[in-house]
Amino acid sequence: MKTLPALLAIATIAVSGPKVIAASLPPPGAASCSGCHATGTASTSSVPRLHGRDAGEITTAMNGFRDGSLPATVMNRIAKGFSDDEVRAIAAWLAAQK
């Protein structure tokens, strides 16, 4: 009876727990942003960095891309694939990244 809890303790060393992992994961869609938007500060890309940016700014921009009030080449096509809630979650996650 002692062995199983002991083994479970070993298992928790092996991988991080579900809550730790779940909390560290980006919300649906957010992981794709870094395909174009560099995460590092050293980037000289003409595509803006989003990590650490104000969440309200990101949400406002996404809303503008979606309704066409903000001119875009590709973000208008991408923004239409996300709901208000999804955009809010992605913006909050991006803002929290360093």
């Binding site: 060393i13 991988v15 395909g35 003409s46 595509v47 096509r77 991408i78």
Partner: protein, 426 residues
């Protein structure tokens, strides 16, 4: 016979032990210090996935199996063919990936036993895993077009895997006389990089227009429609009038056979003899996926759209060009998006959690000429067991955009390449 017998008995014993362990303690990575995830294939999919796994859970023991010391990127390799870029700008190493805590094993994987969860390597060593990710890209089918085998590819390059083949096609174009005929043979769907043959036609035409203006380019196609079709066709008319001709499937464009001795491509409707013949043959998932038992009768790998786990082999996930990702095209951007989703799902599964339904993006840029970019984008989510387009999102660049718009997309294309390769290899 004796050796075989002993081998099979040993395999049987280890299989029984593994089954027993799994039955008694259905927890992953039970006896190890850390859960082991092995990734096979160090391209945009595999290398991204290995890095993302380590980033999400530094406790994971992540191994990347890739025989090549240098990766040669396919995106932008059409620029190399057209003389607009050097092959060195396409090359990336694995040092930074190793420095991030991923164990890089420079070997080819030659065997997979999904029952006991081990991988055999070319040097005879073996690796155990708790979860395995296959990102092997495509294999060119040298059994699909009569006469087109590996030897024929040395005469009629496919240039569909970047490296020597890219340089061979470049060299042939350089050597061709002005007034020559270049023929590109494009395969039926699905294949790696759907807009690739048509971008290649544009950039080769750009080279011909600049250097050999009396030459012609013919595309023989096994399809009646293709990616960004209207944008490409407009660009051919606008930028290369009279130079590019596209023959669709229904017009007799499907190449059935080739004759490398005479550089001839053979269709049902006739023969085309080229000065330079670029044969892009049909493709299938990289061979290791078949060895693992993860391919179906299409030659590709069916996957779960939430976790990218193989529908036929538990514990094995398939990402990138090798998998059947529903509406997602086979692109480097897709592979990178899928890699990050797959890494999150694996870390969640190993932690004992349940992965949430993902949302993925693809954006593919093509260049019709230097400074003239066009794109296709899509947003995807699981629906009825496959990755489906999110309705109302995605699509291609506008057909009537001003040149300034095309210039901006060309700039974004360059930015994408720099950012993506920095994220994966930098």
């Amino acid at each position: 016979m004796t050796i075989n017998h002993r081998m099979s008995r040993r395999q049987f014993c280890s299989a029984s032990a593994a089954t027993l362990a799994t039955t008694a303690f259905p927890l992953p990575a039970f006896a190890q210090a850390a859960a082991r995830v092995v990734v096979i294939g160090g391209g945009f999919g595999g290398a991204s996935c290995a890095r993302a796994l380590k980033q999400i859970d530094p406790k994971l023991q992540v191994t990347l199996v890739e025989p090549n010391r240098t990766f040669v990127a396919c995106p932008f390799s059409n620029n190399v063919i057209a003389g607009l870029r050097s092959i060195e700008q396409q090359q990336f190493g694995y040092d930074k990936i190793a420095a991030s805590g991923v164990t890089v094993v420079p070997q080819a994987a030659t065997a997979i036993d999904a029952t006991v969860r081990t991988i055999g390597l070319a040097d005879g060593a073996s690796l155990g895993y708790d979860r395995l990710v296959l990102s092997p890209g495509v294999d060119l089918r040298f059994d699909a077009l009569q006469g087109y085998d590996e030897a024929a590819a040395a005469k009629m390059p496919h240039a569909w895997k970047a490296g020597e083949q890219t340089l061979l096609l470049r060299k042939q174009l350089e050597a061709m006389d002005d007034g020559g005929l270049v023929v590109i043979s494009a395969p039926a769907n699905p294949f790696r990089c759907p807009p690739g043959p048509y971008e290649r036609a544009c950039l080769i035409a750009h080279f011909l227009k600049t250097r050999k203006p009396r030459s012609k380019l013919l595309i023989l196609d096994a399809k009646d429609t293709f990616s960004k079709q209207r944008l490409f066709q407009n660009a051919w008319k606008e930028l290369y009038p009279g130079m590019v001709e596209w023959i669709s499937l229904s017009q007799g464009g499907k190449v059935n056979a080739v004759d490398p001795a005479t550089n001839t491509l053979i269709t049902d409707f006739g023969n085309h003899t080229a000065q330079v013949a670029n044969v892009i043959p049909p493709q299938r998932a990289g061979r290791i996926a078949t060895i693992a038992g993860a391919t179906d009768n299409t030659g590709w790998c069916a996957i779960d759209p939430v976790t990218f786990e193989s529908k036929s082999v538990p514990g094995i996930h398939v990402i990138g060009d090798a998998c059947l990702a529903g509406a997602m095209p086979k692109s480097a951007f897709s592979a990178n998006s899928q890699a990050k989703v797959c890494a999150a799902a694996i870390a969640t599964l190993l932690s004992g959690g349940t992965p949430v339904a993902p949302k993925l993006i693809n954006t593919c840029y093509s260049l019709a000429a230097p400074g003239y970019g066009i794109s296709v984008a899509g947003v995807y989510q699981p629906k009825n067991g496959v990755l489906a387009d999110v309705e109302g999102a995605g699509g291609v660049s506008p057909a009537d955009a001003p040149r300034e718009f095309r210039a901006r997309e060309a700039d974004y294309a360059q930015s994408w390449f720099a950012t993506a390769t920095a994220e994966v290899f930098g």
